[in-house]
């Protein structure tokens, strides 16, 4: 005949401790694994925009980032950026340079494409488009979320690379051409993988797609 043995008090405490530990370990694993868990998802169809022709939707690992372009500030640069977006040039292009809490940079079309990354030259590639002159004369407050064209390798012209600021940089006024500003989805940008010791990222994240809003709506 089997007799039921009652758990001692210390055994009960040990069991509860093990259950709590298991829950904690499991939830930590899920949370650490999924860096996008607490990133608010931006649903484009739920938003309304005044200047739809100047709205860009960038899809990255942690969701959508909405950028409003500013053609009144930098007409040539914005026209160029739009043209490259329409031609889907930025799809599968790496965020090759990420400086934590400062900026993310992408747009090397020659050495930064998924499946064709060249770590030696990334950040110095050229697009098939010609270089353009910076438009830096108009006042623009480079605040957190501002988007600008990065300078080309020789330092005086612009090509296809762009950056998005993760913190204010007032000294950038007069140095870089402003393209626009992030209106929604900023948190997703802060989750982009950075290098632990370097600005240049080994196995970087990519832009899944970059589209003008009217293209998505159609």
């Amino acid at each position: 005949m089997l007799t039921k043995i009652k758990q001692s008090k210390s055994e009960k405490i040990l069991l509860i401790f093990l259950i709590i530990l298991a829950i904690f370990a499991f939830s930590s694993f899920v949370l650490i694994k999924n860096k996008c868990l607490f990133v608010e998802k931006v649903k484009v169809d739920k938003l309304t925009f005044e200047n739809r022709e100047n709205i860009v939707v960038m899809n990255i690992n942690c969701g959508n980032v909405i950028i409003e372009l500013l053609p009144e500030v930098s007409p040539n640069a914005v026209a160029r950026f739009k043209n490259m977006i329409v031609n889907k040039e930025y799809d599968d292009v790496a965020f090759h340079r990420v400086v934590e809490n400062f900026l993310v940079q992408a747009g090397d079309l020659e050495f930064g494409k998924k499946g064709n990354i060249n770590y030696t030259y990334i950040g110095s590639g050229k697009s098939k488009y010609s270089l353009i002159k910076p438009e830096i004369d108009k006042t623009f407050d480079f605040k957190k979320g501002s988007v600008g064209f990065a300078k080309s390798k020789n330092g005086d012209m612009e090509d296809s690379e762009f950056f998005i600021l993760l913190s204010d940089a007032p000294l950038f006024e007069g140095e870089y051409t402003p393209l626009g500003k992030v209106t929604h989805g900023f948190t997703a940008l802060t989750k982009i993988k950075s290098g632990s010791k370097s600005e240049y990222v080994l196995r970087p994240e990519f832009i899944n797609s970059l589209r003008m809003l009217p293209e998505i709506s159609n």
Binding site: F102, Y119, P170, G174, S194, G195, E199
Partner: protein, 243 residues
């Protein structure tokens, strides 16, 4: 294969992730904004921590200073630079002025340093006030010379000196770096002017802009300096001409 991996690792450690907006622009770490002069389009910076950086072939290092010391030299610098026209610095491509202590260039104590590529001059605020204003104009000239070399040809300048004279070049004698006014000029405003053509021009420019009365006297007594002063003035009038 191993070499490739080593090169890759080196690449990812060389570009240390230390950038902020100032580092992004002029590649000097640990700086903060001290003042922004919107009229002259100049940004005054000072270290928040000591820094060492690489500028071309030289290592440049400088130390953080106390606020009151920076303030004193900031006022002095601003006063000197306010004498130039408002658009002048945009034209010559000078944007950043770093005020710091114990400036060293390639391990040698320096009074100032110009980095035209980064549109920056560094000023050692340990320099006494008498020499400090001269250092400011001296470094400004290096920026001008770099961007408008065609108006300041070395070949013309070299002909002003006595044929037997040679610039000292890589001298290690500390006296060779002296900015003190020479009692016997003999074609040079200071001992440092004998270092190279570029330093000679910068010293001449510096004296013109900070010791006007002395220059007007000395050029009547020293024919070589007379030619050098005229040369710099003609060059500067070309620089100032509208594009």
């Amino acid at each position: 294969m191993k070499l490739n991996i080593l090169i890759l690792l080196l690449f990812f450690t060389i570009f240390q992730s230390k950038a902020d907006q100032i580092y992004e622009l002029i590649k000097i770490p640990n700086l903060k904004i001290y003042q922004i002069d919107k009229e002259n389009n100049l940004r005054y910076l000072t270290p928040k921590k000591d820094f060492v950086t690489n500028s071309g072939i030289n290592n440049v290092s400088c130390k953080k200073s106390k606020n009151d010391k920076v303030e004193e030299k900031y006022i002095k610098t601003k006063n000197e630079l306010d004498d130039y026209k408002k658009t002048f610095f945009k034209k010559i491509k000078l944007k950043y002025i770093v005020l710091c202590e114990k400036l060293k260039v390639g391990e040698v104590n320096a009074l100032g340093f110009a980095n035209p590529k980064m549109e920056t001059i560094l000023l050692n605020i340990n320099v006494n006030n008498k020499n400090f204003e001269r250092v400011i104009h001296h470094e400004v000239f290096h920026i001008i010379e770099n961007n408008y070399k065609k108006f300041f040809p070395d070949t013309t300048w070299a002909k002003f000196n006595n044929p037997s004279f040679y610039y000292s070049g890589n001298s290690t004698n500390p006296e060779a770096f002296s900015l003190a006014k020479l009692s016997n000029t003999n074609g040079f405003f200071s001992e440092y002017a004998k270092y190279s053509i570029s330093e000679d021009m910068a010293e001449t420019f510096s004296f013109i802009n900070s010791r006007e009365k002395y220059v007007s006297e000395v050029i009547n007594l020293d024919k070589i300096l007379n030619k050098k002063v005229s040369f710099i003035k003609v060059g500067m009038s070309n620089v100032k001409k509208p594009l």
